[in-house]
C-alpha cells in the first residue's frame, strides 16, 4: 500500500482538481532514490480550480504551513485571484501547490510535458523526466543536482529498454 500521499492525491483527483505532480514525489515515481516528505504539485490557479482544491482538502484540516499560527485555508473566489502558490499542511501530509515551475512554466505547460502513471487504479499526471531534469537544474540546489544525475541515468535506461 502506498499510503498517505496516494490518499492525498486521490482526494485531489476525485474532486477533479487539475494538477501535475512535480518535485521529489515525481522523481521517486521515475525511480530516484531520495525520500521526500511532502507532495509538490503544479496546479491551475484559476479560482474555479482552487475552489475545487479547497473542497478536496475540506476534511483534512488544511492550514497555511508558512504562517506562524497555521492559518486555516479559507479561499473565496475573490481572495484566491492574487495567489501564485499555496503551501499547505494537511492531515495526510504537506502539500505545496505551485502555479509556476521554474524551468518548465505554468500549469498548461506542465501538462504538455507530463506523462500519466497509474497507482492502485488511479491515474495521475507527473512531470516527465526531461521536464523534471530542467526544473531541478534550474533550482540548482545540491540535492537537486543529485536528482538530476539520477534522472539522467534513469532516462538512458528507459530509452535503452524501449529501443
Amino acid at each position: 500500500m502506498i499510503g498517505r500521499f496516494l490518499e492525498l492525491l486521490t482526494c485531489l483527483a476525485d474532486s477533479e482538481v487539475d494538477f501535475v505532480i512535480i518535485g521529489g514525489f515525481a522523481s521517486a515515481a521515475h525511480g530516484c532514490t531520495n525520500v521526500t516528505q511532502d507532495i509538490d504539485i503544479c496546479c491551475d490557479f484559476s479560482p474555479t480550480n482552487l475552489m475545487r482544491l479547497q473542497k478536496a482538502l475540506a476534511d483534512l484540516n488544511p492550514v497555511h504551513r508558512m504562517t506562524s499560527k497555521k492559518v486555516k485555508l479559507e479561499l473565496t473566489e475573490d481572495n484566491c485571484k492574487s495567489l501564485k502558490n499555496l503551501y499547505l499542511d494537511t492531515e495526510l501530509g504537506q502539500l505545496d501547490c505551485l502555479g509556476y515551475v521554474k524551468g518548465v512554466g505554468g500549469y498548461r505547460q506542465a501538462v504538455k510535458v507530463s506523462e500519466k502513471i497509474e497507482i492502485e487504479g488511479k491515474v495521475f499526471n507527473i512531470l516527465n523526466i526531461d521536464a523534471l531534469i530542467e526544473s531541478k537544474k534550474t533550482m540548482n540546489r545540491p540535492r537537486d543536482l543529485q536528482t538530476v544525475i539520477e534522472l539522467k541515468v534513469l532516462k538512458d535506461k528507459r530509452n535503452d529498454d524501449n529501443s
Binding site: 502506498i2 500521499f5 514525489f25 532514490t33 525520500v35 521526500t36 544525475i149 539520477e150 541515468v153 535506461k157
Partner: protein, 100 residues
Amino acid sequence: MPPSSSGLGRWVLIPVTGVRVPLGVFIMTNTNKDQENTSFDEQSRFDELVEHYPYLKEARDYGVDIQMLMDNADRTPAERLRRHQSALNALNMLKGARKL
C-alpha cells in the same frame, strides 16, 4: 549477504556479453573508498555498465546507491512509490524513536 545469485533476476542486459547478470552476483559499491575493495570482476562489470550508461560514474562519484537506482529503474512507478512509502514510514518511525 547479497540476494540469491540463482536465476536470471531482473537486471540490466549487458549488450557486450549478451548475458543478463543475476542481481546477487552484481553488487555495486557507492563510494570511491569502497571501490578499492571491490573485486576485479565487479569493477569490470561496473565499467561495462558505465560504457552503456555514462552518467552512472557521475552518480557513483556523487554517492548515489547505484544498485538501488538501477533496481528502481526496473520497477513500475507504483512499485517505486511503494518502496518510497516504506522508506518514509521508517523515517517517521525513527523520528518518534525514544533516546535511551
